[in-house]
Structure formats: structure tokens, C-alpha cells
Amino acid sequence: MENSQLLSELTPGDTAIILDFLSTGKALRRFREMGLMPGSLFKLIRRAPLGDPLEISVLGSLLSVREEDAVHIMVKRVEPSASPSTSQDH
């Protein structure tokens, strides 16, 4: 896919949309239940001082995600202004 990259490759401040999960099965279901699923718009806020985990903002809540999980999430960067209604007030 054009422009697609891994969540772990984003730079803090980037807004992106989730395209797909690279691993299947039950493991990432909790991500979906917390609002991170294909089509979700989110923002990478920052990395922890030691580089891992990552803090992202989705559906108005702040979530901490580890790099080892972030490498399973394919995303596409979007311009923040283009946010549809799914974007939230982090």
C-alpha cells in the first residue's frame, strides 16, 4: 500500500489512520475494544523517556502501547486538519 507505514515508525505529533493489523487472532482484540481498529484515527503523542512505550490519543483517551505491539499495526499518516469526526480531543 502507498504511504503506509508501521505505527512504530511514526514521529510524535503525527496523526494517522489505522489500515490493518498485521497479526491476526485474539491477541489484538483489546486494541479494537479500546477503539484502535482499522479506520480509527489517532495521534502519536510521545514516546516514553526511554524510547518505549508510545503514547497515543484515540477516541478521547490516552493509551500506552508498546513498540513490540506497535510493529503489528499498519497505519497511514494523514494531515491533522483532515480529521473526520472520529478524531478526538486528546
Partner: protein, 653 residues
């Protein structure tokens, strides 16, 4: 069920349901005050909280505070309990007749995900829209009437921390016409999902059906939110963002953490000492009074040396427990605890744990008892168990007196830096044990399986002092009740073993030598001889299984050290007396190698009845404390054996 949903009858039992950080516990406390009961669900380690709320007409309504959950599709024991109780699948908890579903208004979409799942159950429901103040600050406006109409249940705006909306909720709870919700979401879902998947894989490994269901539910929720909630300015920076810019800052974040932890440890080590001294003196005074009133005899000794000393040994932990839980309560309520986990996750992940284990592990350097009680902030049950298993390796403050006297024997001079170096070495040795075994247990308990870690960083809130204090008091009471009885029993046993059989006109040391404890010491002598110990050290080690610091007192009795009012002088006398102690063949007993062997034993051995009692309470089974006791003590034995035998072989004494 059939009777409970009949309109016209008031409901007797409500379950309180909501996401973690939805303000559920605050609401529970506000509704029930101090009329709470905390226990465990049988067979699992999930805490069961029940309370009595007072309805509009002064009637009593039972309230079950179910564990916080993100979904009815459980991924932890907490969430399993939520599902099972709401389905009426637990024999120990009758199915609640109604549900109070609490939703964070500032975060409605995510919270409504669970709320709509709960509505699908078809129980009479009241929805509470909490934290309306935060939502309003974020320019989120909602139309409760519209929401209520769409969901078919009462929707009550609330600020649980300010007790706003409580009266309205009480009125709703007393209503006789509460009905199940409209199940609109469920209807939508079943309508949209053409072929029923239940035949192929209701909970299949592929999970594709489930994934679709999640998306569909979120779509429905979004529709609901779009119709009833107005988020006019979604991009404004929140107060939480501004605070996080400091708290999670690359440089300031860790520095603020160090500052807060310093304050925590200062309080645990120094401030706690003040009430601990009072408790110590208080019980000493009490024992004195009893001695002056009662005629000498076994009953008097049982009361003073067994019961009063035993109860005192339990109560002495309270200041540290209360201080730690005060801090944990504040950190949890404000939202800072999750930030600590975020900052420390990387380091903790190295030993297979997550950031949530950091505060409990650190606290165990003061005392494993509050630390293990504090592990309930760790959501993942395996992480929690591993943390409980390794926490006692941290060199707690009860080991200090043993280390101090041994180091004094080892280095008689005043060479402060050498003593510090040894002390540091002992702490490092315990820490190494903690890390290595966390890593090993991680391999064993998890079989290499990896669970994705996703953690919420809740919005910052002003803590409610009342709630923090009530939590602190609940922990203190639990400790007294659960650990207290066990410790009291063990204290009496140890007292009895040192007292019986009674020898007439014997000196304390002689009495001890010929008591059951003394005989046990001699009985285990062959086993501990390879570590360099004789039966007298054996008595000290046996007595230490009640609590490590007992070792010093036992040694004083054994080696005829008179206790004076001046502690320093007593310590010096103890050291001098022990230094001159001889084995039966006239060789010195406490050689440097023996001292090191003893210290290494105390680094690893599980010699703390309080910890074992609290591990039993927190894991809800005797299996883990027994396992911990056997394995840690075996490890301590082997380590001390290696030190003594290795040292002897290399020519040290």
C-alpha cells in the same frame, strides 16, 4: 430473574459497572459511605466489594462494586467476574437485579462500548454520565434526555467526586418502574450481521466475527454519540495534556518521579518510625502493666510475651502500610500511577513485567507486606503473581538489624565505607535474586506466550481525600484481620516453643537451650552445620521465621546479653558478647565466613509470617505462600552452603 424485572417492585440489589477510571469506586464510596464489606470471590484473586446504599425513602439497597472492565468479552479474571456476575453464573453472588452503568462523559464513546454491552443483558439499568465537569471544560455538551430516550434507561449527569447528582441517582434507584434498556444496539447488530456465526465459531480462534462485532458496535455507539453529544471543539489542548508535558517530559518526567519516590521513602522509613516507636513503647508499657498486676506464671508470660508481643508485632506494620497506601491512593486517584507505569515500563519489561509492577517492587525494599497488598494495581494476573513471588527478595527493613549486627561482628572497627559496601552488596544480591527469578518465573508461568500490553493513561483528577483515607483504612483493616490472626498464632507458638518445658530456677539462656525451640535447634544442627551454624544460631533462625528481626533478640537471650535502656550500649554489648562466643571445641563461633553465610541466608530466606499470610490473602490460596516459603528457604540454604563450603575450601574462616 422473572420476579426481579417485574415493574412495580423496588430492586434490592444493584451492580455497579464501568470502565476502569470511570469514577466507579468514587461513586460506590459516595453511595455506601462506610457501610462496605471487602472480601474475595471464592477461587479467584478478585476482590469482592459490597456495600449498602440508602435509597430515596431511607430503604437499604445492596450495591455490588464489580471490577472495572473494558469489555464483556473478558481478558482478565476481573473481567470474567464482571461477566459471570452479570450473567448470574456465579453461585456465590446472586445475579443483581439491576445495573448502574457509569460512563465517563469526557470519554463517552469508549465507555459506551461497554455500557451498550451491558444494556444487551436486558437487566433494569440506570446510566450515570460521570465527570460532566471535565466534559464541560472540554466543551462537550450532551443531551441526557435524548440519550435516555435512545437507550431506554434513565441517564443521570453526575460529578461523583463532588457528590453532585447523587440525590438524583438515589431517586432513580428507588424507582419502581426501572426497565431494561431498548437493546437498540443489539438489534442493530443482529440486523446488520447476515449469517449467524454461532454455528461456525462463536468464540473461534480466528476471531474475525468478533472483530466485526466490535467495529459494528463502535459504529452504533458513534451514531448514538453523534446524535446526543456535541463535541464542538475537539482539538483543544486539555489540562491533562498540559500536565503531561511536564510529568512525561524526557528530562523532567524522571526527575519528578525521583522526587516523589524520595518523599515516599522518606515517609516510609522516617515518618513511619515515629508512630512505630509509639506502638512499640505502647505495647511494652502494656506488657509492663500486666506484669505488675498479675502474679508471675505461665498465664502471665503467655499474655505478655505471647499475646501482647504478638499483637504488637502485627500492629507495628500499620504505619508503613497506611503511608504506602496513602501514597498509592493519591497516585492512583490523580492518575499519576499510570504515568509511573508508562515511565518505567521499558525497564520492567526487561524482566518480563510491566510498568505497573514498579511501585510494588520498589515498596518491597521497605516492607514486602504493603508492597504485596499494593500489587492489586497490576491488572495482568500473571504479572501480579510474578511480582508477589519475587517481591520478598528485596531487602526489607526487617533484615537491617540482622545485617547491622553481622556487619558489626565482621568489621569491628569504624570503617564506615567498608560497612556501607557490604550493606550495598547485600541489597544488590537481593535485587539480583529478584531480577533473575522474575525472569525465570516469567518463562515458567507464561510459557513464552506474549500478551499485548495496552494501558490507559487516565485524565488527571484532584484526589478525593475521603476516598484515599477510606482505601487506606480498608487495607489496614484487611491486614489486621487476615495477617493478624496468623501472626498472632505463630507468635504464641514461638513463645511456647521457647518457654516449654519449663525448667525450674534456670537462667533465660538455659531455659531456652532446654526448651522445645532449643531442642529443635539441636535437632536441625546436622542440617545447618554445613552452613557453619551451630544449634544456637539454629534457634535464632527458627525464631526468625516469625519475623527476621527476632534473630537479634533471640541471640541476646542465647548469649546472655543484658538489655539496657541505652540502645547503642546494648548493641555494643551484643556485638562484644557474640564476638567472644565459642563453639563446643573452643573455636570462635561467629567467624567472618559464618557471618557472611548468615547474611546470605537472610538475603534469600522467606522468614516472615506476615508476608506469607498476606500472600495467602492476595493469591487466595495456600499453594503460593507454601511454594514461596519452600523455594526461597531452599535457595537461601543452598546459597549459604555455597558461601561457607566454598569459603572454607578456599581457605577462609
Amino acid at each position: 430473574m422473572s420476579t426481579s424485572t417485574t415493574p412495580g417492585k423496588r430492586l434490592q440489589t444493584f451492580a455497579l459497572v464501568g470502565n476502569p477510571n470511570s469514577g466507579k469506586t468514587t461513586l460506590f464510596n459516595a453511595l455506601t459511605g462506610l457501610r462496605q464489606k471487602v472480601g474475595n470471590y471464592p477461587g479467584v484473586t478478585v476482590e469482592k466489594k459490597e456495600g449498602i446504599a440508602i435509597g430515596q425513602h431511607g430503604e437499604k439497597i445492596k450495591l455490588i462494586d464489580l471490577p472495572g472492565a473494558y469489555s464483556m468479552d473478558p481478558q482478565s479474571p476481573d473481567e470474567e467476574i464482571l461477566r459471570d456476575v452479570l450473567h448470574g453464573d456465579r453461585e456465590d453472588t446472586p445475579r443483581p437485579e439491576g445495573v448502574i452503568c457509569i460512563v465517563d462523559a469526557s470519554n463517552a464513546e469508549r465507555h459506551l462500548y461497554l455500557a451498550t454491552q451491558v444494556l444487551d443483558l436486558g437487566l433494569p439499568t440506570i446510566m450515570v454520565l460521570n465527570m460532566t465537569d471535565i466534559a464541560e471544560n472540554r466543551k462537550i455538551r450532551f443531551d441526557c434526555e435524548s440519550l435516555s430516550e435512545k437507550l431506554g434507561v434513565p441517564v443521570i449527569p453526575m460529578q461523583a467526586n463532588a457528590r453532585k447528582g447523587l440525590a438524583e441517582l438515589r431517586i432513580a434507584m428507588s424507582r419502581t418502574d426501572l426497565k431494561p434498556g431498548l437493546r437498540r444496539i443489539l438489534d442493530n447488530l443482529t440486523y446488520q450481521s447476515e449469517p449467524s456465526p454461532s454455528a461456525s465459531s462463536p468464540d473461534g480462534e480466528d476471531g474475525e466475527w468478533n472483530d466485526r462485532l466490535i467495529s459494528l458496535r463502535y459504529q452504533s455507539v458513534r451514531q448514538l454519540v453523534d446524535e446526543s453529544i456535541d463535541r464542538s471543539d475537539p482539538h483543544q489542548e486539555t489540562r491533562t495534556d498540559r500536565i503531561d508535558a511536564w510529568i512525561l517530559h524526557r528530562l523532567w518526567g524522571p526527575l519528578i518521579l525521583v522526587a516523589i519516590l524520595s518523599l515516599l521513602f522518606y515517609s516510609i522509613f522516617n515518618l513511619a518510625n515515629i508512630p512505630m516507636d509509639w506502638i512499640d513503647e505502647g505495647f511494652g508499657w502494656l506488657a509492663e502493666r500486666v506484669r505488675s498486676f498479675m502474679p508471675p506464671g505461665e498465664l502471665r508470660d503467655l499474655i505478655t510475651d505471647g499475646i501482647i508481643a504478638g499483637v504488637g508485632g502485627v500492629v507495628i506494620f500499620l504505619p508503613q502500610i497506611m503511608i504506602l497506601f496513602f501514597f498509592i491512593g493519591i497516585m492512583e486517584d490523580t492518575g499519576y500511577l499510570s504515568r509511573v507505569a508508562f515511565l518505567m515500563d521499558r525497564i520492567m519489561s526487561r524482566i518480563g513485567l510491566n510498568g505497573r509492577a514498579f511501585i510494588p517492587i520498589l515498596s518491597s525494599y521497605a516492607c514486602a507486606v504493603p508492597a504485596i497488598m499494593g500489587t492489586r494495581t497490576i491488572e495482568n494476573p500473571k504479572d501480579r503473581l510474578i511480582t508477589i513471588m519475587v517481591a520478598p527478595f528485596a531487602s526489607c527493613s526487617a533484615r537491617l538489624p540482622v545485617y547491622l549486627i553481622m556487619i558489626a561482628l565482621l568489621i569491628p572497627g569504624v570503617s564506615a565505607w567498608k560497612k556501607t559496601a557490604i550493606m550495598l552488596g547485600l541489597y544488590l544480591l537481593g535485587t539480583a535474586g529478584l531480577f533473575v527469578f522474575a525472569w525465570i518465573f516469567n518463562r515458567i508461568f507464561r510459557h513464552g506466550e506474549r500478551t499485548p500490553m495496552i494501558m490507559e493513561l487516565p485524565s488527571y483528577k484532584v484526589p478525593v481525600l475521603r476516598a484515599v483515607l477510606s482505601q487506606m483504612w480498608t487495607r489496614a483493616r484487611l491486614f489486621l484481620k487476615k495477617a493478624g490472626t496468623v501472626i498472632l498464632g505463630i507468635s504464641i507458638l514461638i513463645w511456647a516453643s521457647q518457654t516449654f518445658p519449663r525448667i525450674e530456677n534456670a537462667s533465660p539462656a538455659e531455659q531456652q537451650a532446654r526448651s522445645i525451640a532449643g531442642r529443635l535447634g539441636k535437632a536441625i544442627e546436622p542440617a545447618i552445620q554445613p552452613l557453619g551454624y551451630d544449634w544456637r544460631i539454629g534457634i535464632g533462625i527458627l525464631a526468625s521465621f516469625a519475623a527476621r528481626e527476632v534473630f537479634v533478640g533471640t541471640m541476646r537471650i542465647t548469649f546472655h546479653v543484658e538489655e539496657g535502656d541505652d540502645e547503642n550500649a546494648t548493641d555494643t554489648r551484643t556485638r562484644d558478647q557474640l564476638a567472644t562466643a565459642k563453639r563446643d571445641d573452643g573455636a570462635p563461633l561467629f567467624t567472618p565466613l559464618v557471618c557472611i553465610s548468615i547474611m546470605v541466608f537472610y538475603v534469600f530466606a522467606m522468614q516472615c509470617a506476615s508476608t506469607l499470610a498476606i500472600v495467602k490473602r492476595e493469591t487466595n490460596s495456600w499453594r503460593w505462600p507454601i511454594f514461596q516459603f519452600v523455594w526461597m528457604t531452599a535457595l537461601a540454604y543452598l546459597a549459604a552452603l555455597a558461601v561457607y563450603q566454598g569459603g572454607t575450601w578456599m581457605g577462609f574462616t
